[in-house]
Symmetry: D2
Subunit: 93 residues, 4 copies
């Protein structure tokens, strides 16, 4: 089974209230080294079959038309071997 | 300026209604190669100064206590050179 | 055109990192009267035709199976005359 | 304990990919009466003390500056007796 990840983030010029809330809450955790936080979305898509250039082009269209709003968000598509769940499992979490 | 990314995903055994809605909407776009979709969150943190092991350990604590709910979500922390906005700009989007 | 709203909130016993981030950021805005914040989702559904008990029963099923994860979230379905956009317009925002 | 709800919705002229995904997934559930779906956020704030006009004015400022992005979202603030969790409990869910 192959996996493709689509990351969607608010564009830099768009105010991001959720990122701002996280940034505002950090000092109370005693952590002061962060100057900005942006919150976006991550989609993990399981693909049936080989990931060809054609498949990636299709997922690019899905990212643009269904997973993001191109007026206010940027997106990025890439193949990824391991899911966050698998990475967390390896880290013993 | 250094950048650290925290990816947060619903655990595999947790039902993910938003991912399911995306999966259900894909056939209408004429795209049938996707067998599963999971939707999570991506945080891009701008860090003031060098990213040392100590900084990463702090961000790991932030990820566990503020950015995720460890009972229902997995997270993963990594350093990343480029933001999604920068990647999109390079791709001419 | 009739409108039905589905509100989805994390169950009280479920940790809500996003609500916690908002709560943690409030003191910096000089606002100290809030003791807890929970963040959930609000869906506004436009319905074609009359809203009968049968329609509401169908939407209840949609809320349970597509809009929420009943293990970690509660939901509530109600008819609502005005959308948030309409209320904001009336308030001159 | 008093409760104030802040509802935040994408403005009508803003494309809402998450609402669109839900709308696209509905026919597969055999439900065809919905013509549009918009997905926003609902915040439940627990307030310490009485909810005066002054408190509501403060929460309005919080809604505008921390909970929403006024360029792309509308918000609405109102007092609410019961949380979604309490309503769900009464409904026996």
């Amino acid at each position: 089974m192959a996996r493709v990840v689509v990351d969607v983030m608010p564009k830099p010029e768009i105010l991001d209230p959720q990122g701002k809330a996280v940034l505002g809450a950090l000092p109370r955790l005693g952590f002061s080294g962060v100057t900005d936080v942006r919150q976006g979305k991550r989609f993990e898509l399981e693909i049936d079959g080989e990931i060809t250039d054609e498949v990636l082009a299709e997922i690019d269209k899905v990212a643009e038309s269904l997973l993001s709003n191109p007026v206010i968000e940027n997106y990025e598509v890439h193949v990824e071997d391991r899911s966050v769940a698998e990475i967390a499992a390896e880290a013993g979490r």
